[in-house]
Symmetry: C2
Subunit: 235 residues, 2 copies
Amino acid sequence: MFKRAKQSRVFQDVVDQIQEAILTKKLAPGTRLPAERDLKEMFNTSRGTLREALRVLEQKGLIEIKLGVAGGAIVKQIDTDPLMESLALLIQSGEVSLEHLSEFRIKIEGSLVELATERASPKDIEELERLQARARHCYDIQDWESFLKTDEAMHTYIGTMTRNPVFQFVQKSIHDNIHRYYQDFLPMNRERTLENLQDFDKIITAMKSKNGAAASAIITDHVQRFHDKMTGKRP
Amino acid sequence: MFKRAKQSRVFQDVVDQIQEAILTKKLAPGTRLPAERDLKEMFNTSRGTLREALRVLEQKGLIEIKLGVAGGAIVKQIDTDPLMESLALLIQSGEVSLEHLSEFRIKIEGSLVELATERASPKDIEELERLQARARHCYDIQDWESFLKTDEAMHTYIGTMTRNPVFQFVQKSIHDNIHRYYQDFLPMNRERTLENLQDFDKIITAMKSKNGAAASAIITDHVQRFHDKMTGKRP
DNA sequence: AAGAACAAAATGGTTTAACCATTAGGATTA
DNA sequence: TAATCCTAATGGTTAAACCATTTTGTTCTT
């Protein structure tokens, strides 16, 4: 029925107060908080306790701490980095496997591409073609590592095109984490890379003609093939 | 080209060492770390610095700290709570809106229900029917708050049925966050609640006959209607 | 005047030693 | 036997000092 009353953790109270101020924009991104020695006076606490609070806020991605004179705690623009770090922990701990991620991709990436197609601006298409050209160059000089990076950038950019930060986070974190362990499971070679290039050619073509359904179908198949290779159904 | 060399932050080194030990299962969940006064000796550091490290690990969700004798830092089973907290921060900061979340739901929840249908065990269906009965009871006594909680529990349970932690996290975090701000946008009433009940009746029926496509279609429509109401397209 | 070298000061990072608050478990008592 | 109290281990907090880094201004050299 009731929750246990708040334990007396002074630093938690400091965290809450500063977090509240940041979330309600009383402290805008870029703002520099007072020095630790001043903050400790304001909160009527010791410097050690205050620093524990700052450590927590830093870990949450709400502030960034710089050294030296003119240094201090600076309010950060909130981003998805802490989210991605948490996901990486789940993967590294084995709680989430690459197969799990890959299965999720199969279900989501088609919808994502469809949305991106609907909302694509001419500039977006240009950027995709620029990335695709770079990928082709990497293929030509057989630089698989750079190819993978470009591939990741393309997927991530398609996420951006949805104009929806949830999709953007999903896309970024999936590909960031998949690529981090890619080599262990599925080393790139000439054949796979070429297949990848051709798929993206088709996707960009479909996007240009605003054919979201087609683009979705192509990438879903693309992802499905990747999943099958990884899980060894078609080794 | 190069990253700046690691800054001398002793507590970060302590964090890394303990995190490494946890992720590689050298420290299993449930294990109790030595007392702070002992750890500080092992790492050859001061207690303050050590505590900053513990604070970070606690924030990451890797350990839990208990008070009193026989207390201390206990290795936690990693879960999705830190991920959900990060998402909540993004929402509270306005970086992600409920409309963004809702749009994401429309695209994903159909696939999720389809997967859940494929993998549903008889026990799962029983559990869903139990929850549905509870929801009906809440409807009968017009307890909208409990109804919402039960509704959230059903969605979350369907996530569990996918047997894929990624879907589980997505479902949990979406509904946890949507319901947190539900009342502000869309207060429940007799009509909406009844509609909700009927939709779930259909979904469970479709699941029982292993008709994933039908279940998917029903919930997608359900979510779409919710989204339209919230964004005011059909007020 | 321009640039290089140096010095000063502010700030975060760390250390030490002490005391307070909480809690499990044993000792005591009714 | 059961309730109560005491003890000791452990996390939480405080205080004062010193170290390390970095910006900024000053001085010296050419």
